[in-house]
Symmetry: C2
Subunit: 404 residues, 2 copies
C-alpha cells in the first residue's frame, strides 16, 4: 500500500483566502415571480416608471376641502361646507370643488380637483347636504401626495440588493409581477469510495450509507445554492475522470472522501491531469486532508469522507464560497457564552472546531470521532480553539457558535 504524503499543510486563513480568491459571484440571471424572490438577489436596478401613489389621495376617511375654508373653525364655531358628492377608493372623481364646497372621501380615494386637504370624519358632523367642520386643517393635511412614496424616475432598488418582504413590496407597488434575480450557484456533489452505498436502498455487506451527499446538499440549499447529487464515483481513473468532467456542468464541484492518503487516491491524479491543485492539507481539526483546486474556471473541493470532518469542512470552506457566488451576505452565527463542562486538550498548530451542546449555561463537548455523524447532529453549535491554545480548563468561558 503506497501512501502519498500531503503537500504543505497550510494555515486555515491561507486556505480560506485561496478559496475566496477563486470564487466569483454568479452573473447568470433568471426571471421569476416576485413572490418567490425572498432571500434572492435582485439582478437589475429598479427605476420607477410612474409615481407611487400615482395621484394625490386621501389618507383618512373624511371630507376633501380647500384648507383655507376651514381656517378659524372651532368646537363652538364650526365652518359649514356644502357636500358636493362622495368618492370611494378606486373611483375616478368626476367632481371638482370650489370655495365653500367639499367632497366625502374614503381612505385611499383620489382627491377631487381643487381640494388640498382632508378633514377627518371624527372632526365633522355631517348632515344631508352639508357638513360642520370643527377643526381647521392646513393645506396637504391628511393627503398622500402623488410620488410621496416613490417618484417616477427614481432608482428605488439597486442591482445586488437582497430581497425581503419590504423590498418585494416595492416591486409590487410598481406592478412588477416577475423580476430578474441572480441564479443560484449549482454545486455538484460526488461521493467517492467503494464503502459508500446510496440511501433509500438495502445496505450492502461491508458498506455504510452515503451521508455526505445529504449533509452537504442541505447546507448548500440553506445557503442560497442548488445542489446536484451524482452517483458514487468509481475507483478507476477513467471512471473518476468521466464523473468529474460531467460534474463540471456545475459552478462548484465537491468530492467527499478520497482526499486522504491511500492507494486509491486517484482523484488527486485526475485533478492534477485535467486541472490544478491549489492546496491539499489544512491546519484544521477535523478536516485536515481538505483539498482545493481549479479545473478550468471551476473550483473543486475534496472533502474528507468522514461525516463530521466533511460537514465541518463544508461549513468552513464551502458555505462562504456558495454565499459569495450567490451574492448573499456572510453568514452570521448566533453566539452565546457558556462555561466548558470539562477540560479540553487541543493540538497546537491546528484550529479545532469542537462541537458542543449547551445546557444551563454549560458547553458540553459532544464530539466523539470524525467518523460519527452524531458528533455534529447531537450538537447545538461549535467552539473554535485557535492554533496557539492547547488546553481549556473546565469551567473556562467559551463562545459557542450556534447552528440555528
Amino acid at each position: 500500500m503506497k501512501t502519498r504524503p500531503f503537500g504543505r499543510v497550510i494555515p486555515i486563513r491561507d486556505a480560506i483566502e485561496i478559496v475566496e480568491s477563486k470564487i466569483k459571484p454568479i452573473d447568470r440571471r433568471e426571471k421569476i415571480p416576485i413572490d418567490l424572490t425572498v432571500d434572492r438577489i435582485l439582478a437589475r436596478d429598479i427605476k420607477a416608471h410612474f409615481d407611487v401613489p400615482p395621484f394625490n389621495r386621501s389618507a383618512m376617511d373624511g371630507y376633501a376641502v380647500i384648507a383655507e375654508d376651514t381656517f378659524g373653525a372651532g368646537q363652538f364655531d364650526p365652518k359649514v361646507l356644502r357636500i358636493k358628492g362622495s368618492i370611494h377608493a378606486g373611483e375616478v372623481p368626476g367632481v371638482r370643488i370650489d370655495r365653500g364646497e367639499c367632497v366625502e372621501v374614503a381612505t385611499g380615494a383620489r382627491m377631487p380637483k381643487n381640494s388640498d386637504a382632508v378633514v377627518v370624519v371624527e372632526n365633522t358632523e355631517g348632515e344631508k347636504d352639508t357638513v360642520k367642520i370643527f377643526e381647521p386643517v392646513h393645506p396637504k393635511e391628511n393627503v398622500s401626495n402623488a410620488g410621496g412614496d416613490i417618484k417616477e424616475g427614481e432608482v428605488i432598488l439597486k442591482d445586488g440588493e437582497l430581497l425581503d418582504p419590504g423590498k418585494i413590496g416595492v416591486l409590487a407597488s410598481l406592478g412588477i409581477g416577475e423580476i430578474e434575480v441572480y441564479e443560484r450557484p449549482k454545486v455538484g456533489i460526488l461521493p467517492t469510495g467503494d464503502e459508500v452505498s446510496a440511501i433509500g436502498m438495502p445496505l450492502e455487506e461491508g458498506k455504510v450509507y452515503d451521508i455526505n451527499s445529504h449533509t452537504v446538499s442541505a447546507l448548500v440549499r440553506s445557503n442560497g445554492g442548488r445542489a446536484n447529487l451524482y452517483e458514487i464515483v468509481g475507483d478507476r481513473f477513467e471512471d473518476a475522470r468521466r464523473s468529474i468532467e460531467k460534474a463540471l456542468e456545475n459552478d462548484i464541484v465537491l468530492l467527499s472522501g478520497g482526499s486522504s492518503v491511500g492507494e486509491r487516491d486517484i482523484l488527486i491524479d485526475v485533478i492534477n491531469e485535467i486541472g490544478e491543485i491549489l492546496f491539499h492539507g489544512v491546519q484544521i481539526k477535523p478536516g485536515m486532508p481538505t483539498l482545493f483546486g481549479m479545473i478550468e474556471d471551476k473550483p473543486i473541493f475534496g472533502m474528507p469522507g468522514y461525516p463530521t470532518s466533511c460537514l465541518i469542512d463544508a461549513y468552513v470552506f464551502l458555505l462562504p464560497a456558495v454565499r459569495k457566488m450567490a451574492r448573499l451576505p456572510e453568514k452570521k452565527y448566533s453566539k452565546i457564552k457558556a462555561k466548558i463542562s470539562k477540560k479540553i486538550t487541543s493540538t497546537l498548530g491546528r484550529r479545532q472546531f469542537l462541537t458542543v451542546k449547551v445546557r444551563d449555561g454549560e458547553a458540553i463537548p459532544v464530539f466523539k470521532e470524525s467518523s460519527t455523524i452524531t458528533s455534529i447532529s447531537n450538537s447545538d453549535g461549535f467552539i473554535e480553539i485557535d492554533y496557539s491554545v492547547n488546553l481549556i480548563e473546565k469551567g473556562e468561558e467559551v463562545l459557542v457558535n450556534l447552528w440555528q
Copy 2:
C-alpha cells in the same frame, strides 16, 4: 358616510396573548425526500434499526493487528508481522488473523476477524510479505466500533426536532430516503378594497397596485408557511362572505385592508355573522385597526390596508402565529445598538414600531407615512418605542432589530 368606532383598543401584549391562545401547531404530516427537509420539523421519532457503523472498521489507513503483538515495539526495536492480505473499504473480509499476523486495511475497511487494533501506516515499514511495526497500539486503537456512532434501538432523533444538515446526516446514515415532517401551515391572503389592482397588469385609473398580498406572502414563506393568494375581495356582503368562506381551506386567513372604520367595512359584519371577533384595535403604531377573530377553528386576521401598517402588523402578529403552527422556534432578530439621529416623539399609550436605517452607528428614521412601502423597504430594521415613552432625544442609544 357612517363610521363605526373601534371596540376597546387593547394593549399589544393582550392582543399577542389572545392570538397565541388560538394558534395550534399543525398536526398534518407529509413524507418528503430528506434532501428537502432543511428547516422542516421531523414528525416522528427516529429509532435506529441497525448499528452505525454496522461493523467494526478501521479508522485509519494501516495494518489491522492483534494489539498484544505490538506491545514493546519501538523505533529501534520494531515488531515484525506477516501480512496476510489486504482489505479495501467496502469489501467483506474473507481473512482472519492469528498471532503474528496482520492485514493491510484502508480507512473505513471492515476489520478482519480476530483483529482488535490498527497501526497507522506512518508507524510501519512494509516489505513484500512482512511489515515492521515501530509503535505499539492498545486494543481498540484506531478502530471505529460497530454502533459507536448510533446503536441499534436508540431513539436518535425526536418528533418535533428542527432538521438541519447534521440531523439530515443522521437520517442518511440510517439509509432513510424519505421522511415524515409536519406540513407547513397554509395562509390564505385576501386583499380587499376597490382601489387595489393586481400586479402584472396595467394599472387602472384611480387605483394602486396590491402590495400587501406580496409582502405578507413573502413573510409567510420565509417563516415556514405556505402562502395562497386570492383574488381581490369584492365589496358586497355576499361576495366578501363567499371569498372568506373559500379561504377557510387554509389554516389562517388574512385580510388586508377593510379593517379600518368606514362604510364599506362589511368584512366585520361577515366575520361577526360566520365567526367571532376577538379584538379590533390594538395600542400599536402603525397598525392600530388590527382585527383578529375565529371562524370555526380558523384564525382570521384583518390587517390595515396601508403597506407599512400591514407589514409591521404581520411581523408582530402573523409571523409568531405562522412559526408556532409550523413548530418553528421563535424568530430572533439580530440586534444592534445605535444612536438615534434626531429627536423622536411618540404617542403615550401606544407601542410604536419605528423603521430606521443604520449608518455609521446612527439609527436614522426612514418612516414617512404608513401608506408608503418605502417606510419599510428603505429600512434596515426597527426600534420599539414603549407605551410610556413619548420622547427620544437626539443621540440617545436605541436598540435596532434588524430585518436580516
